[in-house]
Amino acid sequence: MTPQDDRPVSPATGDGAPHTRRQAKDAARQDEVRLENAVETADGELPPPAVPATAAGLGAGPAPDAPLLHRIMTGNALVAFLSVVLSLILGGLLIAVTDQNVARASSYFFSRPQDTLGAAWTAASGAYLALFQGSVINFEGDSFTRIIYPLTQTLTVATPLICAGLGVALAFRAGLFNIGAQGQILIGATFAGWIGFTLHLPAGIHLLLVILAGMVGGAVWAGLVGLLKARTGAHEVILTIMFNYIATNLVLYFLSTPAFQRPGSTNPISPQLDATALYPPLLGPAFRLHWGFVVAVLATVFVWWLLNRSTVGFELRAVGANASAARTAGVNVSKGYILAMAIAGALAGLAGVAQVSGTEKVLTSGVAASFGFDAITVALLGRSSPWGTFAAGILFGAFRAGGVAMQASTGTSIDIVLVVQSLIVLFIAAPPLVRALFRLPSPGAPRAGKGGSTTRTPASTGAAA
């Protein structure tokens, strides 16, 4: 459409920075184009998220010949690490300034500043130590079980985070902002739960059916969004947000009907699921960790295969990276949207199953906790790659599990975990900020003045309707 006259060809211009393409053929396509690289959170100095995964599959080695140290200094891993450190420091400061002892000590700050600083250190380090002990290893444990118990708790909490995070990540890769994991978990849990407490089937089959139902529930709920987007061009960000609220109300309604409500109860709570419908414990009854975690690992492997080794994944990635080109190459973009959302929903549904037949064992409207929203940050932190999401899920699982322990032992509110998590994602999304804060060299050649054409245009989702 635009002859790229006189412009250096770079990824940015190559993909066509949308604002130079005002004369887009029609609004719908422009919308598609805007979704290019929806996952791109970076400021352009980062390679596309996990795209090299395929390249790696094709046996490609590391491309640039930069010195190792330079590569480490400018690489994403360091930025990610520093982002976590920076966020923990800021979180620690927040804990310190709100601490009662610090407040007392600061009243005589100028006579004995070391008291204030000491109290601050005690508050922050105490909280973080409790967080660590609550999520990884409990040094004070008197038995092996006690010592590793926190780690299993972390994995338990990570299970729904990983499943739902994979769903968000997969949709991201197809160019869709799936803010709706929360609703998908809820509906998945509802389907799964109903099978679990209504049908009474032999062990094995029952659980299998529960898992299947959970996936179907999530897939239908998310697929509906995909369908609406494909058919009407409605924006999925708005749709998924709305579907979350609709799901919450729907579940509340179900829980007020005889089919779902626990007999004799006036509260919106279901009967307990049959034992045959529950995930068996993975490490014996001493731990809450259940087989759902193994399912989460399998799901990660599956998503990796799907995205990097299957034709379906190729289609989805093509739709996500450049919907116009995908369409021209014969990919059915509408089908891609529906399929991507349905698979994403099925994965979120697995998270619902993990909750309802793993940890909670009953269906309530709060069964999804805030896993659906955390899943977004998990997927972002994992840069939308399956194993990245897995790792991020474990990290945030640790935060959450440790946060509970921290709140119990030091009284520090678990909300601090939300603060740290969101700061991590913000920092990771803006590598230049982190580099500037730590005075790291920026990757590549210095950019030329205003002609920053090497900057990739990240996505946009213009809330187009």
Binding site: M1, V9, A27, G59, A60, V312, A329, G330
Partner: protein, 514 residues
């Protein structure tokens, strides 16, 4: 106003877009910048207009050095620019577009559009523009939009007007009108920098011609210089304007289009009742000014358009109503007009782009599972065969140069047996070396017996490749003429004259001259 550029260099990373360019624009002069696509003309003008910082060099206005921090400074210095892609807000009215950035306000920052409207009417009357200040820009024809751009510059008292490829979107008639306007502006003492790669226009209006190639000034020329001389200056070697190709030996007609109509979402018939045939072993070129239905025609053939009626058959099989995938599988190869938007996925590797529409065919996939080794092998072969300059098969396609990207697209399309090959603007933004290579490949495909359709807005390319030429005007077919027809005939047809009339009139003119 005298404008001087001294030693302007502009680099993007390692790419040197402008290499110490010197240029002097005298008052009341039309100074043409002649150069191929990608030669660095627009970059230079963006530097002059304050959109880019020059890496090195100096700009002088009336012998005073100036620095432009942004377009605002350039405008304040009396420089106005009409961009190749119009810088108009489509949903604004003409008056709002003209006022933007230069608003006259009442108390409290409230707009006083009345004054702007008056100025627009005044300028419109002075130059005979016929522009309604209250029309919404997106409803206006391209020619009028261009006038709005000129008004924007004049309202700001521009003394130097930069026109960046202004004729690319105009019909020959509109082009002549624009050249007339330029003469009028010049008579009013304005200087004009006219950027173009079209020799005829440059020769018609210029006082001075500066030729730019690969970011460097390679010479200045007198408008009276012969066309071939200008052309070889521009391209950098003696240009043989004809490709070394054998006459076509058309076989059976296998591709037929009947009463094809395509409607845009707003109901407009962008392709209107087209019927034509293409035989095996011939190249049909589709000529026309940009935006006369060519894009929609090719997209309709590929199944990419929604509201299509009529019939398209390939080897007797109906294509209308079938999916893109079916049409690709039926053996239609397609090079879309904007490779970076439709032809390639910029973030995908070269290897992946080489199988972009064959990813689920053997040997690249078995069932749902893809075969990385087959994909890699295919990539290595194609990269070697087409001499694609890339770091590796796993490099992102977006990092390649325009010519190499186009080679990837062509390599992909030619890598399967074709029953029809369609290429839209096959060499737009491609360097000269690659153009020749790509043209040869297209002719080779024809000689192999494939029906070929080339869509191009460049008459040179059309005349070079075509065995027959179809001209589109406002979605209608003006007729199909032999490939050896004169430029005059094509020009008349592109302006909306049916083929027989155009042939007759061109004949008359020639007769009269003799």
């Amino acid at each position: 106003m005298k404008l001087e550029l001294i030693g302007i260099t502009k680099r993007f990373g390692s790419l040197v877009a402008n290499d110490s360019i010197d240029l002097v624009v005298e008052p009341g002069q039309v100074h043409s910048l002649l150069g191929e696509n990608g030669a660095g003309k627009s970059t230079l003008m963006n530097v002059l207009y304050g959109l880019y910082d020059p890496t090195e060099g100096e700009i002088r206005v009336d012998d005073e050095p100036v620095t432009f921090k942004g377009p605002g400074d350039a405008m304040a210095a009396g420089i106005g620019m009409v961009h190749q892609h119009f810088m108009l807000v489509p949903v604004f009215t003409v008056a709002e577009n003209v006022a933007l950035g230069n608003e006259t306000t009442k108390a409290g920052g409230m707009l006083n559009l009345q004054e702007t409207r008056a100025r627009i009417r005044q300028i419109s009357d002075q130059y005979g523009f016929d522009v309604d200040p209250d029309a919404v820009v997106e409803d206006l024809p391209v020619g009028v939009q261009q006038r709005v751009e000129i008004i924007k510059a004049l309202v700001r008292d521009a003394e130097v007007l930069i026109l960046d490829e202004p004729t690319a979107v105009l019909t020959p008639k509109e082009t002549d009108e624009l050249l007339g306007i330029m003469a009028q502006l010049k008579a009013d003492g304005k200087s004009i920098v006219f950027i173009s790669h079209k020799l005829r226009e440059v020769k018609a209006v210029s006082d001075v011609i500066t030729v730019i190639r690969r970011g460097k000034v390679v010479g200045t020329a007198d408008p009276g210089a012969p066309t071939t001389e200008l052309a070889s200056l521009m391209v950098g070697r003696s240009v043989s304007l004809t490709l070394d190709k054998q006459p076509a030996t058309p076989g059976d007609v296998t591709f037929r289009v009947r009463d094809l109509t395509v409607q845009a979402a707003n109901g407009q018939r962008v392709v209107d009742g087209l019927s034509f045939d293409v035989a095996q072993g011939e190249i049909l070129a589709i000529a026309g000014v940009q935006g006369n239905g060519q894009t929609e025609l090719t997209e309709a053939i590929m199944g990419l358009q929604d509201h299509v009626s009529g019939s398209i058959t390939l080897g007797g099989e109906e294509l209308v109503g079938r999916s893109v995938k079916d049409i690709i599988r039926a053996g239609v190869g397609f090079v879309p007009e904007d490779r970076s938007v439709e032809g390639l996925v910029g973030t995908f590797s070269v290897a992946e782009n080489l199988i972009l529409n064959r990813y689920d065919d053997a040997p690249f996939a078995r069932g749902l599972s893809m075969s990385p080794s087959a994909i890699e092998k295919n990539a290595d072969e194609k990269i070697a065969e087409y001499d694609v300059r890339t770091q590796s098969a796993s490099a992102a396609a977006g990092t390649l140069s325009g010519g190499n990207q186009q080679k990837v697209v062509m390599a992909r399309e030619f890598s399967r047996p074709l029953k029809l090959f369609i290429a839209s603007q096959p060499t737009r933004g491609v360097d000269v070396g690659s153009i020749e290579f790509l043209h040869r490949r297209i002719v080779a495909e024809r000689d192999g017996g494939t029906p070929v359709i080339i869509v191009s807005t460049e008459l040179d390319e059309v005349l070079e490749l075509a065995d027959r030429i179809a001209v589109l005007y406002r979605g209608r077919l003006m007729g199909i003429v032999p490939g050896a027809v004169s430029r005059d005939v094509l020009g008349l047809m592109m302006a909306g004259m049916p083929a027989d009339e155009a042939l007759a009139q061109a004949h008359d003119v020639q007769g009269g001259n003799l």
